[in-house]
């Protein structure tokens, strides 16, 4: 909502020099209406003055420029060159003087144009940031075709002869004529004397670019000076005869006046962000009420008065039937006849413009003005287009369409509320009117609609049609049911004030259900207890009364425009807003009786993260949703139950359409991205959720510890080392790895299932080269997917101290030869199981295959560590341990000492 400070002063006196924009916006922000941006419009224009053209001459060195002498209120005239031809001696024009600023930030300085000094620039409307059509309809420019400006498209074949003279026929009844004399006839009309060669004629023209000495094309049959269109000529043939030019002022002004002020830029605007619960603040009166209470000023409201002198009563001409009272709880209308469509007055156009809207014509401007003032969107129908004078508020019928005011044909659905006559829709309720009932130049009778529509319904319709308008944006928040009459009265008052038509008697006001009065009890103690304050009852009553609440004893009557207030806590907010949120004390009112901290589960998660980072992995965060095609990318079998993902019915796109049931694609996506960024190596981890469908439609959301890496010498055993260390850091028993050949996402020979005790932890290994290829990675990728829940379940407790050894350890190395298919892990398990009481450790130090062992065999070497707690071990002790180990290896695996 953009607020004009000048307009605001009509309701609350807050002069800008006393309440500058910063002070104003900040105080409003603190009381709940957030002032976002403030702008001093007068700063957008500087040193642009009204000038009167006292002398106009052709430029000595240019065939299309004019040199003007201008009276800008100073002692000496100012000389300015212009290329525009629509100016004449005596015209008042906006002059951007030397060192001036125009809206949009353009700076003007003096210069020389083809050798002639020019001390500024004459301005067009565009240069002032406006358009003729919307802002100054009287300034629309019509250009005659000046024959001296003719430039044939093909110089060899000109349509008009180079040496044409007055009296020569151009075609049909069109002849060339010289302009002998020109004088102003009325606003934008000139009396011109033409020499046709064989006779002189006097005519009146509204072409503004004609000067004495010009040769023009005169249509003797129609008695007009031809424009380009009349000659069926192209713009490029008459490059300087354009329907654009200097803004010739017809305002109450004199040379030297400030143009910024003249066009309404002597204003300050403040843009407010209004929260959705306060649609009553989306208008001048609503914001004025807030401002009045904020600054402790009087709110001056005006009661509209309609004379309604036209003969006839609306009730004899129009009938309104609400067929959907849920969607349209109120419809109010008045009728205006003998309408005279014209531009609205300058003051109204300025206010509309400064509020960020475009002036159109008096009727449309009145509806917009009332919306800005009262917050009640209105619509004006050309009543002659409403068949049988009947308005039916109903939902669209199957297959109905409407061409809206923006010229677009819209298909309507049966949930969309429309304003219809007996036959067809004439407007989409609360959104936009139809072209079939648009206010046009010859509209004679206007029906003003001031209605209340259901917010969500308007919002859905506007969204479905893709047309959020100023009206729909207000309706969708739910407007004051009791505002429709005042708004339509104000519109009719303005009609009479502007002389735009005659208001007929009577008003139609259909209100299917009476308005409920809402009351809340004033509970002073409860409010103070909630806020932690000690605000006096009197203060509370004052604030509420100023805001428009009425109090009868302890009963607060909520005004109709405050649909958001229904509870004592809402009253507390009203009181707090104006007492001042920042005046509420800052203090702890209660003793803290809770003991915060991380839970064991959270602590475990932190430990895992720390372990991963200490091993060099970077943490990543990935999206929880993926594309269903990602399952194919990781070669998930077609019948895998994991393909049964929770599917988002309205996703942003396929790529984010299902909730992941495996975290692997997310990791691979990031690996792939880093690889494509030419990062030589990456080691990453994430503790993220997967989402598994549940019977009740919700999800189990277990966390997975996802690890992924490539490059920098990472291979299966580096990854395995990480997984082992991670498990060790948790104080869990050591992990077991079992070869996994069936997981299609992994390399069948380089994948393992991880167990601790009997608990399955997850899977790890090299990603299948096909999968890597699917992700565009031409390197070995290693990943692990470990269940956080399982890791937590095997986490060790508090460590118990074991006495440090008092006697030295003895080591023995052994090497055995066995079938190369026997996993080393099993050999090791066998050694540890059979080594007896003294064997404390067994570590692999060599695996050899090659010339020195038989085909199909391998040599495996272990270092055995033995120790006793009560004695130094002798050679005999050691030898007997080794013997037991070797016997067991031979018995179980046929492994023999090498």
């Amino acid at each position: 909502m953009i607020l004009s400070r000048k307009w605001l002063n009509e309701f609350v006196e807050l002069p800008i020099d006393e309440y500058d924009d910063k002070r104003f916006a900040e105080a409003m922000t603190i009381s709940g209406s957030k002032g976002e941006v403030t702008e001093d419009l007068s700063k957008t224009i500087d040193n642009v003055k009204v000038g009167r053209i006292v002398k106009l001459e052709k430029h000595p060195n240019s065939d299309h420029m004019l040199v003007c002498q201008l009276d800008v209120g100073g002692e000496e005239p100012v000389q300015i060159c212009t290329g525009a031809w629509n100016v004449h001696e005596g015209d008042l024009v906006p002059v951007a003087l030397h060192k001036s600023l125009l809206p949009g930030g353009v700076k003007i300085e003096k210069g020389k144009l083809r050798g002639v000094a020019s001390y500024g620039m004459l301005c067009s409307l565009k240069e002032l940031g406006m358009t003729a059509v919307h802002d100054y309809p009287y300034a629309v420019i019509k250009a005659a075709a000046i024959l001296g400006d003719y430039h044939p498209i093909d110089p060899a074949k000109p349509s008009i002869s180079h040496d044409i003279h007055h009296g020569d026929v151009i075609f049909g009844s069109v002849v060339a004529a010289d302009v002998l004399h020109i004088e102003r006839f009325e606003t934008y009309k000139w009396k011109v004397e033409l020499d046709l060669g064989f006779r002189l004629v006097d005519i009146v023209t509204d072409c503004q670019n004609i000067h004495v000495g010009d040769m023009i094309a005169y249509d003797s049959k129609r008695g007009i000076i031809c424009t380009l269109a009349d000659l069926r000529a192209k713009q490029e043939e008459f490059p300087h005869c354009i329907e654009d030019g200097i803004f010739v002022l017809h305002e109450d002004c004199k040379p030297g006046d400030d143009v910024g002020k003249l066009i309404g830029l002597d204003d300050h605007v403040v843009e407010f962000e209004i929260t959705p619960n306060r649609p009553d603040c989306l208008c001048m009166i609503g914001l004025a009420r807030e401002a009045a209470v904020t600054f402790g000023k009087e709110l001056k409201l005006h009661e509209p008065v309609v004379k309604a002198r036209a003969r006839g009563d609306i009730n004899d001409h129009a009938k309104i039937i609400i067929e959907e009272p849920e969607l349209c709880p109120r419809y109010t209308a008045r009728l205006v006849k003998n309408v005279r469509i014209a531009p609205s007055p300058e003051w109204m156009r300025q206010r509309i413009r400064n509020a960020g809207m475009r002036p159109i014509n008096n009727i449309v401007d009145i509806t917009n003005y009332v919306m800005l003032e009262y917050g009640q969107p209105m619509h004006a129908f050309d009543f002659s287009c409403v068949d049988n004078g009947e308005i039916h508020v109903r939902c669209a019928r199957e297959g109905e369409t409407i061409r809206t005011l923006d010229g677009t044909e819209r298909k309507l659905s049966t949930s969309m509320l429309c304003i219809c006559d007996t036959d067809k829709p004439v407007a989409v309720a609360g959104v936009m009117g139809g072209e079939n009932s648009e206010i046009v130049g010859d509209t004679a009778m206007v029906l003003f609609e001031s209605a209340n529509f259901n917010g969500p319904s308007v919002r859905r319709t506007a969204t479905a049609l893709g047309m959020r308008t100023d009206a729909s944006a207000r309706f969708e928040k739910g407007l004051d049911l009791d505002n429709t009459v005042a708004a339509v009265e104000r519109a009719c008052e303005l009609i009479e004030l502007l002389g735009a038509g005659e208001v007929m008697e009577g008003i139609i006001d259909v209100l299917p259900k009476p308005i409920e009065k809402r009351t809340v009890k004033l509970e002073v103690e409860k409010i103070n207890a909630l806020l932690g304050t000690d605000i006096a009852e009197e203060t509370m009553r004052d604030i509420l009364t100023q805001l428009g609440f009425t109090l009868e004893g302890d009963t607060i009557c909520v005004p109709s425009w405050r649909g958001d207030v229904e509870h004592y806590s809402d009253i507390a907010e009203e009181v707090a807003r104006f007492y001042g949120y920042n005046e509420i004390p800052v203090e702890f009112t209660g003793a803290i009786s809770t003991c915060g901290g991380f839970t064991d589960v959270q602590q475990c998660e932190r430990e895992i993260g720390l372990a991963c980072r200490s091993m060099g992995m970077d943490e990543i965060i990935t999206y929880s949703f993926i594309s269903p095609t990602y399952y194919d990318k990781i070669r998930m079998p077609a019948d895998s139950p994991l393909r049964d993902s929770l599917r988002i019915l309205n996703p942003l796109g396929e790529d984010t359409s299902i909730m992941r049931t495996t975290i692997l694609p997310s990791m691979l996506e990031i690996i792939s991205r880093n690889y494509s960024f030419r990062n030589k190596a990456a080691a990453l981890y994430e503790i993220g959720r997967i989402y598994l469908k549940r019977e009740d439609g919700l999800a189990d959301e277990p966390k997975i510890v996802s690890i992924g890496a490539y490059g920098n010498g990472v291979d299966f055993f580096v990854l395995k080392g990480w997984v082992e260390e991670l498990i060790a850091q948790l104080g869990a028993k050591s992990a077991k790895f079992v070869a996994e050949r069936e997981n299609p996402s992994y390399h069948p020979g380089r994948c393992a299932k991880v167990y601790v005790g009997g608990t399955y932890i997850g899977v790890m290994g090299q990603i299948h080269p096909e999968v890597a290829k699917n992700y565009g990675v031409d390197a070995e990728i290693y990943c692990a997917e470990l269940s956080f829940e399982a890791l937590y379940s095997v986490k060790g407790g508090i460590p118990v101290y074991k006495p440090l050894p008092r006697f030295p350890a003895t080591t023995r190395d052994i090497a055995v030869v066995c079938d190369s298919s026997i996993p080393v892990g099993e050999l090791k398990d066998c050694i540890l199981e059979n080594g007896g009481a003294y064997l404390t450790d067994c570590s692999l130090f060599d695996v050899y295959t090659g010339d020195r062992v038989a085909e199909g065999k391998k040599s495996v070497a272990f270092s055995l560590t033995m120790r006793a707690e009560d004695q130094t071990l002798t050679d005999e002790h050691a030898e007997s341990t080794v013997k037991a180990v070797l016997e067991a290896l031979e018995k179980q695996f046929g492994a023999v000492i090498r």
């Binding site: 959705p276 929880s624 880093n674």
Partner: protein, 341 residues
């Protein structure tokens, strides 16, 4: 004999003092003090002496042995020092050569900030709770006083799993307020960080998935003054001591009164600059007193208990802290980005 000893003394002390290496020194020790050394040689002649002279000469001889030993020790020490010096000189390295790289991993910058916030709240007696992301609309909206017609419920804004709009991806962490209250254990002091989802196209400031931190306190006699005191402390911890704050009225359906909290722009000190969009203040979080309707709906008597809650966006906080200018970097996970933090 006395003269012999004197001669030995002078010769040995001189030789020892001129000695250049440990090996030579050892040879001198053998030469003078060894079993077949010169001093032994002299002592062998003791037999020839009278009983009166013997103890005197014995004393002299012992003194001489002691002195030679001392001289040897002294020389050995000084030779050792020289040797060490030479060795150290020999071992000198170019200390500007690179160290052996050790790569530790990096926490994601956003979780750095999150952990900082968790620590702050834990220090104030808060617990951290976690809850479902696939959520009932009842919890995400209805129980939070967000009515059926509210725009945030539209399919254009919220992701749904069922045609009847009953199951959605949570759009805020606020349903954690309801979960916490429904557990029925009072008082409550909790924060609930987590992922939330809204139907926003990805750009420099939007993402369909992002993170929020919810916080709530429910107890007897909790007031808005409490809310201000706690959040002021938290904000000072995050943004530094002396950070100036203000509270502005705002609107959330599940708190009443509601507010937004701003900090004074640290760049311009409140004068207005591009960082604060000329306002002098930067919004940091939304908060308010838990709506009595919400309390009652969760089975808590609003006449007995009251509470306050807040919510803040984590991405924006992290982006502010680390001056990250594009949200997409957060989820892109380029290691060249991650390893900066």
């Amino acid at each position: 004999m006395k003269e012999l000893m004197q001669g030995l003394r002078e010769a040995s002390i001189k030789a020892i003092s001129e000695c250049g290496s440990i090996e030579e020194l050892e040879a001198l020790r053998v030469k003078y003090l060894g079993k077949k050394g010169e001093l032994t040689g002299i002592l062998r002649q003791m037999g020839k002496l009278s009983a009166e002279e013997r103890p005197i000469m014995g004393q002299l001889a012992n003194k001489l042995r002691e002195d030679i030993e001392n001289a040897l020790e002294e020389s050995k020490n000084s030779l050792g020092e020289k040797l060490m010096e030479a060795k150290l000189a020999d071992e000198t390295i170019d200390v500007t050569l690179p160290g052996v790289a050790h790569k530790s991993g990096h926490k994601h910058p956003m979780y750095n900030v999150l952990d900082q916030i968790k620590d702050i709240f834990i220090g104030m007696g808060f617990e951290i709770v976690d809850g479902p992301e696939v959520e009932l609309s009842d919890y995400n909206f209805t129980k939070l006083n967000i009515d059926g017609g509210h725009p945030s419920r539209e399919w254009t804004d919220t992701f749904y799993f069922t045609e009847d709009s009953k199951i959605c991806l949570r759009t805020q962490t606020s349903p954690m307020q309801v979960h916490a209250m429904e557990k029925g254990v009072l008082p409550i002091r909790m924060i609930a960080p987590g992922r939330v989802y809204r139907k926003d196209e990805v750009d420099a400031t939007h993402s369909p998935m992002f993170h929020q931190i919810e916080g709530m306190v429910i107890d007897k006699g909790v007031t808005m003054a409490d809310l201000k005191a706690t959040l002021n402390l938290v904000v000072e911890k995050i943004y530094g001591e002396g950070t100036v704050t203000r509270f502005r009225p705002h609107h959330f359906p599940f708190t009443e009164p509601s507010c937004e909290m701003d900090i004074q722009c640290h760049k311009c000190g409140g004068k207005g600059c591009p960082t604060c969009k000329g306002e002098g203040w930067i919004e940091v979080l939304g908060a308010g007193m838990v709506h009595p309707k919400v309390l009652a709906g969760c089975g808590i008597d609003p006449d007995e208990y009251s509470g306050w809650a807040f919510g803040m966006g984590l991405e924006r906080l992290a982006m502010g802290e680390y001056k990250i200018n594009d949200l997409r970097l957060i989820f892109e996970n380029d290691i060249r980005f991650l390893e900066q933090f």
